[in-house]
């Protein structure tokens, strides 16, 4: 029986890739282990090996095809005696070939299709909504915007700041030769050399301390954690050394350093690799905590963070890395730390979110609009110092508020927002403030359980309806 070769998922968050090259042609004999094609993802070019033996009967997706969805049949391998006509299944169009494991953001139940391929994962945000274009006040009218992925925007921010200031350098695991575990530092080694783009051993505690020491001496390190999960090894240096030394030295020794990397749940990597640390770091005086959602904010905030003379926790999100959004084409685009923005104006209820939480909030706002509820969505962007004024101004208008985060509820960022509103806007509230958060469990591995553990668009809709009594 002919065997279909499927477009493989090469990372936990990969949804599609480009078929860069066929290394075998139709009619070639293939053995298990033969490299038959090269696939480009947004992170890397990978080789595809044959698992089955036989003859490459038919190539279903020609080389050069872009955006081939994971699990799309790309070729057929024939056993002895079979011919190509046995491969009757027509090649589905690439874009439609995604497994029915649909974006869990849809309020529909977990898709039960494609049960045969449970390992194939689509991201939790297949189609991330973009906020309406409300550019920063300091973006001049008529500025050209270019679509960039958050990955590219982050790299450009680092490259621009490294060109601008010789004291800026980047260190971390796989940041140099490998070009970044998530390809955020792609090309930096080539431009800036090994003196300023430094691969470290897998020793987070040690290299975080080395970075802080270098910052004490006046350098401006960017310390990349492959993910913030691993920064728990380094959290003593981050809090006890980086955050507190300015105070403990009476202002003598400052620490200009950016700790950055992906934070929170990726997809199907289970409890130790799927944790949201926003609330943890936001608790600590001396730190600033930034968590952008759009590519433009990622770029502008990272540039501001690198210039800031204080320790900054810069929380990225793996699922957002590959998503593109408009970035103003300016020589030096910065976004101020500590300023929230209204991502979508509305009058009936305030939704406060940041980072990937914005996905749930914006999608919910779209759905709520259909129900006649106009939600105002605030992208907090900086968690500490928190722009409470922007939240207050909105809630004084709407009288209702829902917070959205992937982290746990107890002592979460939402809990802080609730407390601020009770202290400062109690008389304006027409309903209790509700929190949509990750469930109070370690992140499970199974696809259905993982989806249940994360917040959903429906959760946000339900909360917004509850506080508007509609």
């Amino acid at each position: 029986m002919p065997t279909e070769v499927l477009m493989p998922a090469l990372s936990p968050t990969m949804e599609k890739g480009n078929l860069a090259k066929w290394l075998k042609k139709e009619g070639d004999t293939v053995k298990s282990g033969d490299v038959i094609a090269e696939i480009e993802t947004d992170k890397a070019t990978m080789e595809v090996e044959a698992i089955d033996e036989g003859t490459l009967g038919k190539i279903l997706v020609p080389e050069g095809t872009q955006d081939v969805a994971v699990n799309t049949p790309i070729a057929v391998i024939l056993a002895d005696g079979e011919d190509a006509s046995a491969a009757s299944a027509p090649a589905p169009k690439a874009a439609e070939a995604a497994p029915a494991e649909a974006a869990p953001l849809q309020p529909s139940p977990v898709a039960s299709a494609a049960p045969a391929a449970p390992a194939i994962v689509t991201s939790a945000v297949a189609n991330p909504p973009q906020p309406e274009a409300l550019p920063e006040p300091d973006v001049p009218a008529g500025t050209e915007f270019v679509n960039q992925t958050m990955r590219e925007a982050l790299r450009d921010a680092m490259a621009e700041e490294m060109r601008r200031d010789g004291d800026v350098f980047v260190m971390g695991e796989e940041v140099a030769e490998y070009q970044g575990a998530y390809k955020i530092t792609q090309g930096l080694l080539q431009e800036f050399g090994a003196r300023r783009v430094i691969d470290t051993p897998i020793t987070e505690h040690g290299f975080a301390g080395v970075g802080v020491g270098a910052a004490f001496a006046g350098l401006k390190p960017i310390v990349e954690f492959m993910t913030f999960n691993f920064a728990m090894q380094a959290i003593d240096q981050i809090i006890n050394s980086a955050a507190k030394t300015l105070y403990m030295s009476g202002g003598q020794v400052h620490c200009s350093i950016v700790f950055r990397g992906p934070n929170g749940a990726a997809a199907r990597v289970a409890a130790q690799h799927s944790q949201d640390y926003t609330a943890w770091y936001s608790h600590v005086p001396g730190l600033k905590v930034v968590a952008p959602y759009t590519a433009a904010d990622a770029k502008g905030l990272l540039k501001s963070a690198i210039r800031d003379p204080n320790p900054i926790i810069f929380l990225e999100n793996e699922i957002l890395y590959g998503h593109a959004s408009p970035v103003p084409k300016l020589d030096d685009y910065t976004v101020p730390i500590g300023k929230a923005k209204i991502a979508r104006p509305g009058k009936d209820v305030t939704l406060v979110a940041w980072s990937i939480g914005m996905n749930y909030a914006l999608k919910a706002a779209e759905e709520l609009s259909k129900l006649g509820i106009e939600a105002e969505v605030i992208d907090l962007r900086t968690i500490r110092p928190m722009d409470v004024d922007t939240i207050l101004a909105s809630v004084k208008k709407t009288g209702r508020c829902v917070t959205v985060e992937e982290g746990w509820h107890q002592s979460g960022v939402g809990a802080e927002i609730v407390a601020q509103l009770m202290e400062k806007a109690f008389d304006y509230l027409d309903a209790p403030v509700l929190r949509v958060t990750g469930k109070d469990v370690p992140m499970p591995y199974a696809a259905n359980l993982e989806k249940l553990a994360l917040p959903s668009v429906q959760d946000v809709i339900d909360a917004a309806r509850a506080v508007t009594y509609r």
């Binding site: 505690h205 040690g206 290299f207 975080a208 080395v210 004490f216």
Partner: protein, 359 residues
């Protein structure tokens, strides 16, 4: 069991260090250019300077202990009495621009870098004239002017931080070296070895000085360390190390010069294990029941770093009893003035509560 442990700890004393030092130094001499005798003879001026500096630290610490007893100093207070030769000898090997970082037993290090006893004492009493405006206390003081980067309260944290200071020196190629001090207790911390690895990998100009005073708080070295020869702790990273008689300021300076020269010349890190001893408890509240009075007394009478210098000065007639007494009196005056300042300087203004959180 405890007695045996103590015995073995005691047997690893300064007295037995000499042959190891010689062996290590010889091993070192093969690798580095030249090689020096482990104990340089000091000139009269050097002896007098070492005497003065070590005595300053001792008198400062005695005064600090007194103020603690009077309730003027709060919290933790870790005295350096007995270990003075280590910082005084090491500091003599440095030049302007070099950096020093250490843990919480830091008063001696600060005075050795030339920090003002008034500012240090006022920090101990939590006053506005302290080096950290009264916001750091005994364990957290800094003077960038003097190249002193703290003063860190988390055991072992300063090892990564000091490695980072050396990273900055290498990055800037400024020819400076960072002295990173830590104790026999910190030497068992994981981040120490993470730092050793990076320092050797990147050939950073750092000298690691392990002040082995035989007790990590109350735990004897032999009860906490599988390898009690700390000079060997860099072996698997190819970091050279040697044991030094840390009670002999001349031996410390000689070793310090070798190590600093090695690091400064771009050959990477170097480890010096200083065999030393603290006379007081771990902190002011430690009655030191884990060791015998005889052990302490023996160190005081036979190995005291200040007495050694004093004896040589008298023996060589480089100073008279009266002259040495005059130096002591002068130092006591300085420390009395520091204590007086620290007792009367106002506490920080309440507005300082919210300053220096962000720059």
């Amino acid at each position: 069991m405890v007695t045996a442990a103590k015995k073995s700890a005691v047997s690893n004393t300064v007295g037995t260090a000499a042959p190891k030092t010689a062996r290590s130094a010889a091993r070192r001499a093969d690798k580095s250019s030249g090689g020096s005798p482990s104990t340089l003879e000091f000139s009269k001026a050097e002896e007098l300077e070492a005497y003065r500096q070590m005595l300053e630290i001792r008198r400062f610490e005695e005064k600090a202990g007194q103020l603690y007893g009077m309730g003027l100093i709060g919290g933790f207070c870790h005295l350096y009495i007995g270990q003075e030769a280590v910082v005084v000898g090491m500091q003599a090997a440095l030049k302007q621009g070099d950096q020093v970082i250490t843990g919480y037993r830091d008063h001696g290090h600060m005075l050795a870098t030339g920090m003002d006893p008034k500012g240090v004492m006022a920090e101990l009493t939590g006053r506005r004239g302290g080096y950290s405006k009264g916001k750091g206390g005994s364990m957290h003081m800094f003077s960038t002017d003097k190249g002193f980067y703290g003063g860190h309260g988390i055991v072992g944290a300063q090892v990564s931080l000091g490695t980072g200071l050396a990273f900055a020196d290498a990055y800037r190629q400024n020819g400076n070296v960072c002295l990173t001090y830590f104790g026999d207790g910190a030497a068992n911390q994981g981040q120490v070895y993470e730092s050793f690895n990076m320092a050797e990998l990147w050939k950073l100009p750092v000298v690691y000085i392990i002040e082995n005073n035989k007790y990590a708080m109350g735990t004897a070295v032999s009860r906490a360390s599988a390898q009690t020869d700390f000079s060997k702790r860099g072996t698997s990273f190819n970091i050279p190390g040697e044991q030094v008689d840390g009670m002999d300021v001349r031996a410390v300076k000689a070793a310090g010069q070798r190590a600093v020269e090695f690091a400064r010349s771009g050959k990477g890190p170097y480890i010096l294990e200083m065999l030393t001893y603290r006379y007081r408890g771990h902190s002011m509240s430690d009655p030191a029941k884990y060791r015998s009075k005889e052990e302490v007394q023996k160190m005081r009478t036979e190995h005291d770093p200040i007495e050694q210098v004093r004896a040589r000065l008298l023996e060589k007639s480089w100073a008279s009893e009266e002259e040495l007494k005059a130096i002591d009196a002068e130092i006591r005056d300085v420390m009395n003035a520091a204590a007086d300042f620290a007792s009367h300087d106002p506490e920080p203004d309440a507005s300082e509560l919210y300053t220096d959180i962000h720059r």
